[in-house]
Every structure is written in C-alpha cells, then in structure tokens.
Point group: C2
Chain length 450, copies 2
Amino acid sequence: MKQKRFFLSEQEIPNKWYNIQVDMPNKPEPMLDPVTRKPVTVDDLSQIFCRECSKQELNFTDRWIEIPEEVQEMYKFYRSTPLVRAYGLEKALGTKSHIYFKNESVSPVGSHKLNSALAQAWYCKNEGITNVTTETGAGQWGTALSYAAQLFGMNAAVYQVKVSYEQKPYRRSMMQVFGAQVTPSPSMSTRAGKNILTNDPNNMGSLGTAISEAVELARMTPEKCKYTLGSTMSHVSLHQTVIGLEAEKQMEMAGEYPDEIIACFGGGSNFSGIAFPFMRHNFSGKTNTLFFAAEPTSCPKITRGIMAYDYGDVAGYTPLIKMYTLGHNFMPANIHAGGLRYHGAGSVVSQLAADGFMKGIDINQIEAFDAGTLFARTEGIVPAPESCHAIAATIQRAKHWDEAGESKVLLFNLTGHGLIDMASYDQYLQGNLVNYSISQQDIDNFTKDL
Amino acid sequence: MKQKRFFLSEQEIPNKWYNIQVDMPNKPEPMLDPVTRKPVTVDDLSQIFCRECSKQELNFTDRWIEIPEEVQEMYKFYRSTPLVRAYGLEKALGTKSHIYFKNESVSPVGSHKLNSALAQAWYCKNEGITNVTTETGAGQWGTALSYAAQLFGMNAAVYQVKVSYEQKPYRRSMMQVFGAQVTPSPSMSTRAGKNILTNDPNNMGSLGTAISEAVELARMTPEKCKYTLGSTMSHVSLHQTVIGLEAEKQMEMAGEYPDEIIACFGGGSNFSGIAFPFMRHNFSGKTNTLFFAAEPTSCPKITRGIMAYDYGDVAGYTPLIKMYTLGHNFMPANIHAGGLRYHGAGSVVSQLAADGFMKGIDINQIEAFDAGTLFARTEGIVPAPESCHAIAATIQRAKHWDEAGESKVLLFNLTGHGLIDMASYDQYLQGNLVNYSISQQDIDNFTKDL
C-alpha cells in the first residue's frame, strides 16, 4: 500500500521561521506613514502593532528567526500538519500528475491562521498587553486570534465583516466560545464605522473597513491594546513559513519535489507560508518551481490590479504600501470566500509578482465550489470556500499538463475546512450561486487616484 | 519540552479488529427474531444487514478479524488519530492526574463514526449492493455513511431525527455535499413514519423511529439495498476497536497505562471502540482498569435502565435484544447531544455492565457544556455535545482523585468536534440551556411491559 499522509515528529517541527526579506533579489518599496509620507519606522509601527512584530516587519537582516518556545509548545497542539497525497482526487481527474496538499485545516480553529495568531498573541502578552483587536472576513483569522488570546489570558475584540457575520453565524459562536467579543463591521462603535453607516446604512462591510475599526480601537489605548493582522504584512508571512518549511521536509519523505505550488490568495499569508521556503531555492537558482496565487475573479488584484502605493484599509489609517491593489475603496462582490475579499496584496508578495517569481490565476465562484465538492467527495474533507480556489487552480494545472502530455508534481495548500460554511455549500447545491467579475472600467475607476 | 501528541506510522495502524465476544466471560443472551422469538441466525440478520456484518455479529470464535485492505487504505486518510496529553485542561483543573484523549474528531467527517461506515460500505459494495440506508441522530453517523457510500460508488439514503435535522442544518448540507439523500424522520415515506405522524403530527423523532424507517426502506428491495447501523451492534463495536488498539500502542509511546477509560455513551460504539482492547487485559487479570460510560441524565440506560429483552427501534422491526434499556417507546428530551438520545445499550456492553466490568456516570446538559467550553478554551478543540459528556465525566474523575490525594492516568475518547453544532453552544452561551432528568415513575412506565 502506498503511503498517503506524511507527518513530522515533534522534534522535526521547525523551530525557526524563514524571513524571505533577506533573500529576495529586489526589496519591497518602504511603507510610508499615512500622514508624513515618510518611510515608517519600528516606532511608527509600534503605535498599532506590538513591538516585536514591528521589528520583524522591518527586518531585512536575519534570515532565520527563532520561534519562541511557548509558541513552539502551542504549535504541538496541531503541528506538524499532514502532507497528503491526493490519490482520490488524482483518480477522479484521471491525471498523470501527482497532487499533494498540505492540510492546514487540522488546526484546532480549522485553518492555517493559528500559526500567526499564536505568535502575535504571545508577543503581545510578553510585552504586557492585555487586549488585542483585529478584523476578520470569513472568520478564520478572528477565530484563531480569539483562541490564541484565550490561551495567553488576554481579551480579544473582533470586528467581523458584516456580510460574513450574517452568512456565517457559527463563526461568531466559535469566537465567543473562545471568549472573544465580536462586533459586526461597519459598526457604530468607531468613527470609521459611523462615517460609513451614515453614508450607507446597509453597507455590508469589507476587510478594509473592519481593519479601520480595529486599528481605531487599538489606538484609543495603545499602551494596553494592540492591533493584530491576519495577513498582508511581512511578519504574518514570516510566521506562516512554518507551513512551507514542514512541507519541504515532508515532500522529501515522499521522495518528490514540487514543480508547481498553488495557494489561494486574499492578503497572501497562506500563499507566503507555503511558497516562501520553496521560493528561496529559486532565488539561488537551484530550482525552477512555478508559484500560483489563486484569486477570485471578483477580486483579482494580482491578475488585474495595478502596482501602486495604497492604503491597507478604507479609512486610510494604515501605512501606505506599494502593492498590487484594486484600490482601497474597492468593494468586492459578496462571494462566500470572505477571506479573499481584500483589495491589496502586501508589499513583499507584490514585489515578487512584479519580479516574475509568481503569478495569479483567477477562479470563478462556481468553478471553486465545483472543485471543492469534487475534493470533498474524493478526499473526504469539505474545504473552506477560500481553499476551493486553490483546488480549482490545481485542477486547471493538472489538466494543462495532461493536455501537454506531461506529468508534474503539484502541491497546494488546503488552508481550512468549510464546516462553518456549510450554508454556502447549500447555496451551491441548490444552484443559487452566481459568478462575479469586475470590469476594466471599475478597476480603472477604483485605482485612478493612486 | 514535553511531547503532547502521539501518532503511529501508517505501518503501525492495526490491520485487525479485536472481537471481544470471544473473550468476554459471560456471552450476551442471543438476539431473538421479533416474530418467531427464536435466536436470530446469520440468514435472519442478512435480511437487513450485509452478509459479512451479519456473520461478524454472531462471531464468537475469531478473536482477531482482518481489516479489508481497501478499508485499511481508507483509514489512512485520517488514521492514526492522535493520542493527546491534555496539558491545558490539566492545568486549568489544577489536577495531579494525567489526562489523555484520543482525538477521533480529526476524521474527515469529524467523528469516529467513519471507522465503521467505511467497513460497512465496503462489505456492502463487495456483496453487490448498490444502495445503503441508515438513520442518524446528531448527524455524525449519517455523514460518515454518506461519505463512505460516495467513496465506494453507492447511493445513500439517510433518515435524520427531525429535531437534529432542524437544530443542525449544516449536517444535512454536509451529507448532501457527500451526495446523500436526507429525509427528516418521522417522514411520510414509510409506514412506520406515517403511523407516528398520524398520531402525533408534531413528533420530533428519535433514533428508534428513524431506525424503523431505514429498516423498512431496506426491506423493500433487500437484494439491492442494505441497512447499516452506526452503533449498538457487535459488528459496529468490532470496527471501532481500531480506536483502542491504536490508543494502546500510543499510551505505550507515552510511557503510561490508563487507570480509567471514559467515553460518552449513546448506543455504545465509541465506548466499545476505546474500551474493549484495554478491557481484554482485565479479563485475563493483567490489569484492573476502570471503565466509565458517560450518559446524559435525561437518557440514563446504563445508570438507571433495566436489563431486559427489548426492541432496538420504536416500530419493533429489529431483533429483540437483551440489554439495559429505558423501553423502546422512551422519547428522550431534546438535548443537543442527539447521538446520546437512544433508549438501549447493545447486548455486549449490557452484559459487561451486568458483570461489573464498567459503569455509568450520568451528566447533566449544562455540566456537559461547561466542560466542553473549558476544553475548547484550554485544548483548542470545540467538542461535539456528545463528547462534552465524556469530558465532564473525566473532570469528575480527576476531581475525585484529587480529593482522595491520588494521581491517576485518565484516558477519554474525544468522539467528534462540535463545529456543526455551534448553535447549541450559542444556546449555552446565552444561558438558554436547561437540564433534563427523568423520574423513576417514567422509567417504570416505559419499561413495565418488558
């Protein structure tokens, strides 16, 4: 019998994260202070983020960063996550390629987000912070932070994008089980939220808006409360590299090396996590792996956005970031993959895309659920709507190589399970889902002032 | 750092199940045909169940039964499941005891039920069956069968207890994602269902009723369609022994042996699964492990039922089984632990209870959710309401030993996660849950004709 799943022993779990900022050939443009327009410093970032994360964000010198022992201890709750050979999916596709996935859905909170939440919560705790706040889309990040805060004895306040809050009520319950306070965003609890609701009382929110609210809350009492972010930033990508570092060892156990690595793309955290450790071998010329970011057709910043300085949020509280963006006022369609409804791509990933180290594949909503349902029926795991995009892109790639008569080794990241999102599968099974795209005119419009 | 989780390699996953019927000192009384009242034969059982399961049911001679290679292959999708040291829970309790749990929630369908569903589906397939049917309470068994049927290319029809169907809509969606046809029970699609609805149009169903409906459906076309059961029967317990066989090896890796083993108890499948492989060492006098079945206070058949011949279902279609029962007409309160709402305990487990090898602990609904929430906050896994009972009983035992000034090794089975049941946690967090108990008069009443 062929081996299906590959695990590392607890001793083999990485004890360092990989900092790609040291190795990437062209560094990202500096983030700029939204008021002074000068490059931000660690001190600037520390107004919002905890100090250690602020330092990691601007660290271009240390290739390997030690994972705090307390975080390593917590990683053992669910790591190593399995690397799985998708024999069932391969068979259903009739593909000659070998498909592997890294199953991050086995984390207690159901997604890869915990990898960074544990780190951020621990650093906050270590710096004497008592309260953490954040935004969440689909709820995966909010759940992860709620649990991590609970573990380290802190309070968590989560702003959940209103459309997700309503589509996915179980997510709210889960955050509350972990002890968090959850508020639908836009809310009346912040100036940013109030402004939006005044203009548009039925506004269903976006990640950009929820970020503004959380940042505003953190700024009210900066000595006690810090903002945490689940994606986009370099320090978040750093923490997620534990995924790819594990996968590298596990692929070795499987006796193969990936020709292509595919991940869904919202702000870039899971993509970075699985891709960066492998990408470093491309930098050194050792390998020539292809990297694909699977984006929703309705929110295609890598595929169709422009590279420009833009805000990370709607209200303009965050630093200006040079990145692929659809404009910070862009309001994505209400697709079920709430975690992919973000306008920007983060500075590091954007630079890597600009330099040709990765590219985007855009996936329609129905194609994503087609792929997710096939995956559930063949591999037994109901994937999160976000992860469905990675599966759909992987299927595209497998078909591409079959048509070319070639067999490749494909690795994708299964970021999370969809058990909290069954309502979206209901919609799909009932034929009620629609595809959304975005016109060039809309893109031009949202990006014209950048 | 101390090791938290213990895994077996794929080579170490058991390739045989343990058949306790060979070793138990007193065999269970024979099951009787509901019409002739004679002991049932393999031929009789094969009217409803597939032939191989019918044989296993009455097998008192083979201690070890080979797991079919195809089923072993599928076990590798999620097995071995982790054995976990609950350091977080121990710390929160301040207990001196060591608490371990076997985490069956990592199965693709979220519970231990898949262990038997894969076996039953494969045997059916192997015998040329094209359709399988079953009942489900909380939905865990129905989901497992739906997925297993899908894997082996069969159709599945699931009768879901109406109260669960309404309380847990995501379960229905999940079964449908796996391709099953799901009907709330009682339904108008069977004679048994119609009879009940005629008398009581608002009847919210029970496992006993749903079983009647599924059995009736299977009997309509016995050559093409077989009934499958997720608990109670000896062949189901047999398949579940993979849990305890793994746990035995994993406890050895941890360097400890359990003094007490605790599992929640509906029909007995997960209890048997974790307990039987360890209990065999009690039979031989090598060990003196204590075994506890954690039951809801509202459905306490082991704790307060009578040992008598009774039907497994409401309509009286199943064989008569000598077991601890609350009477087949007993209608349990609508607690959220739908999988524990069953009136009977199965013949083998009942005999073992009568012989003093195990005992019941009854747990109130609110105590169960208190325990589950503490577990979620300390170990990160939101447990199924059923599993919450095992956690609450484990906490009781840890406190008992702390009061006695002793430290014990406690092992419980975490049967499933509660991510599909977040609505029940909502009720709990809002303070809307109530405890249910049952009066002696009610028990006397429901069991008086047995």
